[in-house]
């Protein structure tokens, strides 16, 4: 017994903090710290100075206002995608298909954005966003429906739908949706009214980041402050109890997938209407996959994804700068993502185990005379 608890004594220390603080701040920070430490070891082994590397990273985020706005631009899709994934994971659905949903949203938004003429900007942008939401949402509802109706494993089905959507996009931008000039594999630009206003002119920063933050806040409100969100979370935690409480389990799963894919699709729409103004085959460098790490690091809390989305956005942007300045390959951030996920999960399990052992200890210590 004592031998079993000893290795985890470190986590006993952490358990002094209240659970909310642990989950929201301490464990993610700890996981991140250990991740950066291991990455530092990797850097040393491969002949780099981690201090230099991390300094470049720091400068790549906070060095000047231009790089900082680039970080915000990178965080925008990550916050949105992460928020969507958090909603699905909260409902117990393993949506790994955000990449495909991002593309689906971007394609539909682009198509609408090109053909929508004569409306005022606010309305045009709203319709473009709606198109993005519907595109991504529909692409996510397919595996959701297959899971509920036919018990098709959503992990593999969403991954296959990623490949299929990316292939379809590539077809569209070289075929039916290709620009009028037919030179590059890309679409025409969307109408001016469909473009997001810039908020800091010399930089590329548009209001997309603010919208992402707003969406994350709305998602948090839906999840934690509405009956619908309560049903989604209860289905994810204990479907039997959800049924017992009169909740519609299948319906909740479909809605969660709609919201999840919708958020990813919206991210695609914002990428198009805010930055690229057109669609091309490689519009996402893997935001859909980064979103998984974003959601998990935030313990599937949409509010937390604002922070972790910014963090991974910073990581992505700065690792590119690091590559340019120090020739350290930017894929390093994939390793950082993977390790961060593994550590955050392992840490929260270990700390929970220690917490329950503490409860057992207490129960054993108390004599049982009445209650």
């Amino acid at each position: 017994m004592t031998a079993k608890t000893k290795p985890f004594s470190f986590f006993r220390l952490i358990n002094f903090f209240p659970p909310m603080l642990q989950q929201a701040i301490i464990l993610p920070l700890l996981a991140l710290a250990l991740t950066l430490l291991i990455s530092a070891v990797l850097l040393v082994i491969t002949g780099y100075n981690p201090v230099t590397a991390y300094r470049y990273m720091w400068e790549g985020v906070f060095g000047n206002s231009r790089v900082f706005t680039e970080v915000l631009l990178k965080s925008t899709p990550l916050i949105l995608v992460g928020t969507g994934i958090a909603v699905a994971f909260r409902c117990g659905v393993w949506n790994i298909g955000a990449e495909g949903q991002f593309y689906a949203g971007a394609v539909l938004a682009t198509w609408v954005g090109i053909h929508l003429a004569g409306l005022p900007p606010f309305l045009t942008i709203s319709v473009v966003f709606l198109a993005g939401f519907i595109g991504g949402g529909a692409w996510a509802v397919i595996p959701g429906w297959l899971k509920v109706r036919l018990k098709v494993n959503e992990v593999v089905s969403t991954i296959m739908l990623n490949y299929i959507m990316i292939g379809l996009t590539s077809f569209l931008v070289t075929g039916p949706m290709q620009e009028a000039k037919k030179v590059f594999p890309q679409t025409d630009e969307i109408v001016v009214a469909a473009r997001l206003p810039n908020i800091l002119p010399p930089t590329r920063l548009n209001i997309g980041f603010l919208i992402a933050v707003l969406v994350a806040i709305i998602a948090a409100i839906i999840l934690f402050r509405t009956p619908l969100g309560y049903a989604i979370r209860t289905v994810g935690q204990n479907p039997e109890t959800a049924r017992y409480a009169g909740m519609k389990v299948n319906q909740s799963i479909i809605i969660a997938m709609l919201l999840s894919g919708g958020a990813a699709g919206l991210a695609g729409a914002i990428e198009v209407s805010g930055l690229t103004w057109r669609m091309f085959a490689t519009i996402s460098p893997g935001y859909g996959f980064d979103g998984i790490a974003v959601a998990l690091l935030a313990s599937n809390n949409p509010l937390g994804t604002i922070l972790s989305g910014f963090l991974f956005g910073a990581l992505r942007a700065s690792s590119e700068l690091m590559q340019m300045n120090a020739r350290i390959p930017s894929v390093l951030f994939k390793i950082i993502q993977g390790l961060a996920i593994a550590f955050i999960i392992a840490f929260s399990l270990l700390s929970r185990k220690v917490a329950s052992e503490k409860i057992a200890d207490r129960a054993e210590a108390v004599p049982t005379t009445g209650s």
Binding site: G167, F289, I292, A293, I345, A346
Partner: protein, 309 residues
């Protein structure tokens, strides 16, 4: 289509199916024991890079396979520790493993090869025609004019079937994924069996990954597995957790890769993107066809909690 192109297509099918078969057979064992391994893709990439780097520096193909096995086995142990001992969610840890696989293979490849422009082609396993057999019309050249790793699957599949259905170990494995408490009640440690199955799966995925740069191509490319790990996962369900059917599923998916390349080369009117996504579309359809079969091991994905204390 003339006989020659059928023969070439068959040959290509076997080549394209081989990495899938290695990964799929390993995953069959892992899932039979109750552990689902979303991280196959990560193992394969790690195996692929290890093999490429080994051949590059040592020019020794056999050593490359051995190193690929050792390195992926190490990652298998880590996965096993997190999912079996700590009982972390298998999907999440598998996803993390994929990220690490993409990251570490890409990072090291860029440092060691791409940035220094040393990413040269390496020696590969050569075709090793088997005398007499290769002269059988049609099938001979397709089946028996291949490299040694392809021949390996000819041994692996029957061996896997024999282990699973004709040995005491296989019996215990099949029990572990279905009813781990029954196995534990007979004095067998479920945890040990699961560790073994997970490490075995990682090793085979490592070989499947190694195949790509040192038998199929002669070069490592970032993300060169292109979703084969996920296809292998679908193969296991489509193949109903039976090594022989999984092998057949592997041939089916392999043929879509082969067909895709062949058609692209043939310059058909079909847009090439549709050919590229063919394997994934077929996999997706296969998933739907094989839905809801209650053949999935009952304890798949569920951590083993010992009863009592």
């Amino acid at each position: 289509m003339d006989i020659l192109s059928i023969q070439i297509l068959l040959q290509a099918t076997l080549r394209m199916a081989t990495p899938l078969i290695y990964a799929g057979i390993g995953e069959t064992f892992s899932e039979k024991a109750g552990i689902i391994n979303i991280g196959l893709e990560g193992y394969m990439l790690i195996g692929a890079f290890t093999a490429y780097a080994t051949v590059y520096y040592t020019n020794n193909l056999l050593l490359a396979v051995v190193y690929a096995i050792l390195v992926t086995a190490l990652f298998g142990v880590i996965f096993a520790y997190l999912t079996i001992t700590i009982k972390a969610n298998q999907v999440i840890i598998g996803t993390a493993l994929n990220l690490v696989g993409v990251g570490i293979s890409g990072y090291l490849f860029r440092i060691l090869f791409a940035q220094t422009r040393k990413a040269q082609p390496v020696r590969t396993f050569q075709q090793l025609p088997i005398p007499a057999l290769k002269d059988i019309p049609l099938l001979g050249p397709s089946l028996f004019d291949q490299n040694i790793l392809v021949y390996g699957t000819y041994l692996l599949v029957p061996l896997a079937a024999i282990i699973l259905y004709k040995t005491s170990l296989g019996l215990v494995l099949r029990g572990t994924g279905e009813h781990p408490h029954a196995v534990e009640s007979l004095g067998i440690r479920v945890v040990h069996i699961r560790y073994g199955a997970v490490i075995f799966a990682s090793i085979l995925a490592g070989i499947g990954g190694a195949y790509l740069p040192i038998a199929h191509a002669n070069q490592f490319v970032e993300n060169m597995t292109a979703g084969r790990g996920f296809i292998a996962l679908a193969m296991v369900a489509f193949g109903r957790w039976n090594p022989v059917y999984v092998w057949l599923a592997g041939l089916l998916f392999g043929s879509t890769f082969a067909l895709q390349l062949r058609l692209q080369a043939a310059q058909t009117i079909i847009p090439y993107q549709f050919l590229q996504i063919l394997p994934y579309v077929v996999t997706f359809i296969a998933l739907i066809i094989s839905h809801g079969r209650s053949l999935q091991p009952r304890a798949l994905g569920i951590p083993f909690e010992k009863e009592g204390n």
